[in-house]
Amino acid sequence: MMRTIEVSIVILIFAVAFIAATVFAVLPSPRQISSPNLHQLALTTLQVLDENKALTETVFEDLTDQAWTDLEIALAASLPPNIVYNLTVYDMVQVGDTTTYRKFHSITNSESGLGTDSETSSYLVMSTNVTFTVTPQRISGTLYILNCSDANGWWITGYTGQGLASDLYNMLSPYFNTTVMVQNTTDLGRLLDGTKISDSDHENVANAVVINTFGEAVPIPAGYYTTQGYADGSYAKYAYILGQKVNSYNWTWVSIVGYPFYYVTNTVTFASTHNGWGIYGMRMVSGYGLGCFLRGLDGQPYSYISQSTGDVGVVYFSSDAHTYSNYYGIYPSPYQTATRALPSSIQSTYHTTIVSNMFDAVSNYYGAATFKHTGGTGKGAFTAIGLTRTPDIRVTALALLMYYNPAIYKSEFTLTAGERPTQRLIVLQLSQQGGS
């Protein structure tokens, strides 16, 4: 009987141990096991609502303003239905080294409170009177960027003409009234004929800027320009026609890298020929392209004449380039390697004047400069970036802006003397309801 009693005692101990384990080792509720990360949800909700500075503007509005009601609606609409919130805005007051937080306003969709099982995120905003904005002056002409899908590039190693065109668009379009991408050589042909190629009312063929993003190659339209642009066994005459067009339309032609007009490109017309280096869709013109272009720009009769460039090694920013680099906030390296620099002599030979010079001349060669045609009616300009590959489009953008020099209008702080910028802290507290 003793054994049975002992075993009964053991069973009793087991039972007590089990009950104790069950009572004290409480498993968390399913909600605690897996609940949305409310901290991150709160933070991302505040960030989304402030995507266009709408939240910042609202929290500095008067409490009677409709914006507060809109904020309540936006919060309720953006959060899942089982999430309740409390958004509190605090004024930050700095006295000496001490910052105190004073409650400014609070909105909630749970009058009974959020309970203890809630999470918060905070978000600091600054009043709009310390917002700094930059607005560039618009250049009146149209910016055309050659983005021809039927052309290949050369000396733009690692890039495509289309990729560079896209980057140039992002960088320069804020400075121009209208920017038009020339999507293929057919459009380029229409443009050379003086026809608008977009539906924009602001597009103007005259006084435009044309950027060739294909490096040393220039796209050539099939048909008229391929036939008329061919003479002396070369397409150098096409470059001559381009020079004429630049003059007659008063364009600024921009070459972004290397030897300008060294090749012509059309992937359909020249599908079976290559440029001498294995790139099909391209024909070599060599230095005759530049020579003929400058003759066309100057209104001289066509002649199959070459124009040399110079390999001058490292070139350094001119003082103007330093100034404009800071002014426009565009910072390419202040020293570059120029292996296709244009000589000073083209000023006298082709009646041009250097109106903006990006790099100090080396042995009378200019690494990147804009040559304004001054002969005859004085129309047309040529921005030549004679640097070695690979191209840095920031150099192109800066060279162009140096030439046109659009103003940058910067907003000023509206704070009066002694006034401090106002900061407010937004705290969003979220909690789940139901199903605990």
Binding site: T4, S8, L41, V48, D70, A74, A77, G163, S166, S198
Partner: protein
């Protein structure tokens, strides 16, 4: 002696029975605790995985704008911080829902199909899309965790025809919680009209405000039933933004002109005849199309962007494996939408197709990942994100593929 023996037998039997019972009871408690622990781990993994995906642009960082091979997976917009996603990276995700489309028929070339409503199409070559298996491998969860992520607009803008003649359209603006009462609505209605061989589009735009139920009505002075039009409505309230679109066409014998993205890297688009996608019987008409591309500005306005070969004529089935199509190029990395209006040559037979270029401009939803159905335990988490300045919600569903009480197609673990 007999009493002692019985005492021993009873005691031993009771002891063994008690041991067995309590082992069972304690094991149940321990099993529950282990299971809870595993589930907690899955929940944390879901949150980590979501942040990993949303806060990294991946590598190459601009992979969404090229057809480059991925070596690191992430959806963050390159060059931006926080929860701003790349609308082009989202385009390259293989949809688990849309049935792939073969174009041209019987060619063996398949396209990922992100189905849109109301004449909206988004087809990308499957070879250019990122599969779930690739993403799981790059995220380091292949074989250990499964997931599905859905990126959906926070604000839903529903457009329906309320009255046909004169046309009245009903706009409903809702969030996941409540309607967006008082939201400011901007609308852009593009209507087809014939000017020559090719149809053109005429724009009507304006602004209205939703009422307290998030509803607004747009009145137009034409008969909606006899006109072909596409309308986009952009809603905004206190930083929340959303967009909806709706199309109506007078030509209804087939899908008409269907845009296909054939080269993601260069933005090359084919405008296909629907007969070359699905045989609806013959004869079917030629389509004279006019394609227009619009980009969305930072001020949320749609601005036309000139594109190559914007007009053309598409015949169907050339025979002998030959197919006709129009071809154009969209600007890489510039989000917008392609609107194609087409006519058959017969009076008042027009249609419209619309294709997003980057998912944000048409507020397209994207779902990516494996199917969570059948898993015993799934954890979810969500974040608010932006895509092309549009407010979206990113929701992940995650489950474990290893461990105790895990179902896989072969057996229970």
């Amino acid at each position: 002696m007999t009493g002692v023996t019985i005492d021993h037998l009873v005691a031993t039997t009771a002891f063994i029975a008690a041991i067995l019972v309590f082992i069972g009871l304690f094991t149940q408690t321990l099993q529950a605790a282990i299971l809870y622990q595993q589930n907690r781990h899955v929940s944390l993994k879901a949150s980590d995985l979501l942040d990993n995906i949303l806060l990294s642009p991946g590598y190459p960082y601009n992979w969404g704008e090229t057809n480059a091979t991925l070596s690191c997976f992430g959806l963050q917009h390159p060059g931006e911080s926080g929860y701003a996603l790349s609308s082009f990276a989202l385009m390259r995700l293989t949809s688990p829902f849309g049935k792939p489309v073969e174009y041209p028929r019987d060619s063996g070339e398949w396209y990922n199909n992100v189905s849109l409503e109301s004449s909206g199409y988004l087809f990308l070559p499957i070879g250019d899309c990122i599969s779930y298996e690739t993403a799981a491998r790059l995220l380091g969860v292949n074989g250990t965790y499964g997931f599905q992520i859905s990126i959906t607009p926070i604000v839903e803008v529903l457009i329906s025809e309320y009255q046909s003649n004169p046309l009245i359209l009903k706009i409903e603006v809702n969030g996941p919680g409540f309607p967006l009462s008082g939201a400011a609505l901007s609308y852009y209605l593009y209507r087809s009209y014939k000017t020559g061989q090719y149809a053109s589009i005429e724009l009507s735009s304006g602004t209205v405000q939703a009422d307290s139920a998030g509803v607004a009505y747009l009145n137009f002075a034409f008969d909606g039933a006899s006109e072909t039009y596409t309308i986009l409505v952009y809603a905004r309230l206190s930083g929340l933004t959303g967009l909806g679109h709706y199309s109506h066409k007078t030509f209804d014998q087939g899908a008409g002109v269907m845009p296909f993205v054939v080269d993601y890297k260069t933005g090359k688009i084919y405008l296909a005849h629907s007969w070359d996608v699905q045989d609806q019987g013959t004869p079917v008409p030629n389509y004279f199309y006019n394609a227009t591309f619009f980009i969305m500005t930072k001020e949320f306005e749609f601005q036309e962007w000139p594109i190559a070969n914007s007009t053309g004529n598409i015949n169907y089935g050339g025979g002998g494996g030959k197919y006709y199509y129009g071809e154009t190029t969209l600007p890489v990395a510039h989000p917008g939408f392609l609107l194609v209006t087409y006519g058959t040559g017969n009076p008042n037979e027009y249609g419209m197709s619309i294709m997003p270029w980057g998912i944000g401009t048409l507020a397209v939803s994207v779902t990516f990942g494996d199917n969570p159905a059948g898993n015993v335990w799934t954890a979810t988490d969500l974040r608010q994100v932006t895509v092309d300045q549009m407010a979206y919600q990113a929701k992940i569903t995650c489950w474990s593929l290893q461990g105790y009480q895990i179902w896989n197609p072969r057996r229970w673990w």
